[in-house]
């Protein structure tokens, strides 16, 4: 994104308004980041709201009852009503609480949930920062939540909170290992930590045949995908691993003592973390933005990019010392009327649609499982992690590495080439 901001500043803005274009690079980038942060926060809020509603409606459907269906058509405004209600509620802290920790914990959890979105691609080019160590970054910042959870469990001086917090801390910390190793399987196959590049590799074969999850691409990645998803369920405390907030025994677990808006932060962070896990699984295993028919919109080799179009549209020469060049502004806006501008945009939009649709399908499976599987005990949770997932994920990493080192095995490629 930094390159694009740099281009916009020096090749577009500088021609529309020379004094603005001459601002220091850092100032312009700062403005761009602040403008860019808004849609991400909004996206996270929309995901959280949509899924608080979606989860209750799906739960209602599965249990043969209505979900929320009173506020707005079919109840879609319910999360908005909940948000306003939570804003207007009292923010109580128990008398024996450790106040600084108590007040900081929800903030830390919320910010920790927002940070992975920086490296998460939404489409091929729509990514805030396509960092070289993307996988590592997302895993690292997912883990920040644990600190907030331990603080939230310990600070209110409430026994339910403490039990829930300790359980969740143990569970999240333990499942971090197999989750990391499962992603490592993909990294070993792809040879890069960049989420965008990992996704890029899964294109071709009509946009569906080269996904990492297919056994003909790598059977180890298939196994790793399912283990990653199970680990993701545990790390986001979803059923059957939801014992940190088991309402029948621990009231609400680590957020028992939180009310009002601070409670809402935990709630939003949970849904954001679920989305992050599902989006990472989608990008690494399910082909990310690849899907059928998208290749038809792919720009031809040598076709002008949006940057080229913009650069060409603002070529009116100006007198020195001009403050604002209207001709160049109209030129830049005229790009909006061109198919050459909308075609790559549609290409990206379709990619974003595929990525988000696949992630939402995984989210749906998470919700579905909650009403299907019974909750398990903490010793079973840890057993599952250390004695089942850990050895198998190590096996996956080694297998994938062996596949990369010793063969270039890809059954699909082999079958396709056999036909020729």
């Amino acid at each position: 994104m930094q390159e694009f901001v740099h281009f916009l500043q020096h090749d577009v803005l500088a021609r529309i308004s020379p004094p603005l274009g001459a601002l220091p690079d850092q100032i312009v980038l700062l403005g761009a980041i602040l403008v860019g942060a808004a849609p991400i926060v909004a996206f996270m809020a929309v995901i959280a709201m949509a899924w608080t509603y979606g989860e209750r409606r799906i739960a209602g459907f599965i249990q043969a009852r209505y979900g929320p269906n009173r506020v707005g058509p079919e109840g879609v405004l319910q999360p908005l009503a909940d948000g306003i209600k939570l804003l207007a509620k009292e923010d109580i802290a128990p008398a024996g609480a450790d106040r600084p920790l108590y007040e900081l914990a929800p903030l830390l959890v919320f910010v920790g949930a927002l940070l992975p979105f920086v490296a998460l691609p939404f489409s091929e080019k729509w990514v805030i920062s396509s960092m070289a160590a993307g996988v590592f970054y997302v895993l690292a910042f997912e883990a920040i939540e644990v600190i907030g959870i331990i603080m939230a469990g310990w600070a209110p001086n409430s026994k339910w909170s403490l039990y829930g917090g300790m359980r969740l801390a143990a569970q999240m910390v333990a499942y971090e290992i197999p989750m990391g190793l499962c992603l490592l399987t993909v990294v070993a196959l792809a040879g890069t930590l960049n989420l965008g590049q990992i996704c890029q590799m899964q294109g071709g074969a009509f946009g569906v045949g080269n996904w990492m999850v297919w056994p003909w691409v790598s059977p180890f990645a298939t196994l790793a995908f399912f283990m990653f998803f199970v680990g993701g369920l545990a790390a986001t405390k979803r059923a059957p691993f939801d014992l940190p907030e088991a309402e029948s025994e621990l009231v609400a677990g680590f957020h028992t003592e939180y009310s009002g808006i601070r409670f809402a932060f935990f709630f939003m962070a949970e849904y954001a973390a679920m989305y992050v896990v599902c989006a990472v699984a989608t990008v690494c295993f399910l082909g990310g933005w690849h899907g059928p028919f998208r290749e038809w919109l792919a720009p031809a080799a040598g076709a002008p990019t949006i940057s080229d179009l913009l650069g060409k549209a603002v070529q009116v020469k100006t007198a020195d010392g001009a403050w604002f060049v209207w001709a160049n502004l109209w030129g830049a806006l005229s790009v909006l009327g061109k198919w050459a501008f909308w075609k790559p945009m549609l290409y990206e939009l379709l990619g974003a649609f595929y990525l988000i649709a696949k992630s939402f399908f995984l989210l749906f499976v998470m919700v579905w499982m909650r009403w299907t599987l019974p909750r398990i005990r903490i010793d079973q949770v840890i057993y599952m992690c250390l004695k089942v997932l850990l050895p198998f994920s190590l096996l996956c990493v080694l297998g994938a590495a062996a596949q990369t080192v010793f063969t270039d095995w890809n059954l699909l490629h082999w079958l396709l080439s056999a036909g020729k």
Binding site: V41, A88, F110, G180, V251, K387, L394, T404, V405
Partner: protein, 132 residues
């Protein structure tokens, strides 16, 4: 290629949103103080003692396993990126490295450090003896 400071700007922006929401809630929210307002919720039972309890050792063991095995994963990350370039020599080294850790895992397993809660199999064989 890239600088780190935009990340911190984003961090500040991300922290400003909940801070703003808390301020709105501070203005809109109710405030009251009753006899039991400051008490922790314990399902209607009057709370006794502090919640600064001692916890079973297992939770701390899990934290230690995390340090051991996640550090392993960190080393493996560096290797996994370059698997193809390192070839069979790198693979053999990683095999030895993972082998040592699998041995450690097997040792912990035999030692019973991974066992939580009741031991179902031990109890089962004991009761069988009694019955027969």
């Amino acid at each position: 290629m890239q600088t780190v400071w935009p990340l911190f700007v984003y961090l500040a922006a991300a922290a400003a949103v909940p801070a703003g929401m808390i301020m709105v809630s501070f203005v809109l929210g109710a405030r009251h103080s009753d006899r039991a307002t400051g008490e922790p919720y314990e399902s209607g039972i009057v709370s006794t003692g502090s919640a600064r309890l001692r916890f079973p050792i297992h939770f701390y063991l899990v934290a230690m396993f995390f340090v051991i095995f996640d550090l392993e994963a960190v080393f493996l990350f560096a290797w996994a990126v370059a698997v193809r370039e390192l070839g069979w020599a790198g693979f053999a080294e990683a095999l030895v490295f993972i082998g040592v850790l699998v041995a450690a895992l097997a040792y912990l397993w035999r030692l019973g450090a991974l066992d939580w809660g009741p031991k179902p199999f031990a109890r089962l064989s004991h009761s069988r003896h009694k019955d027969s």
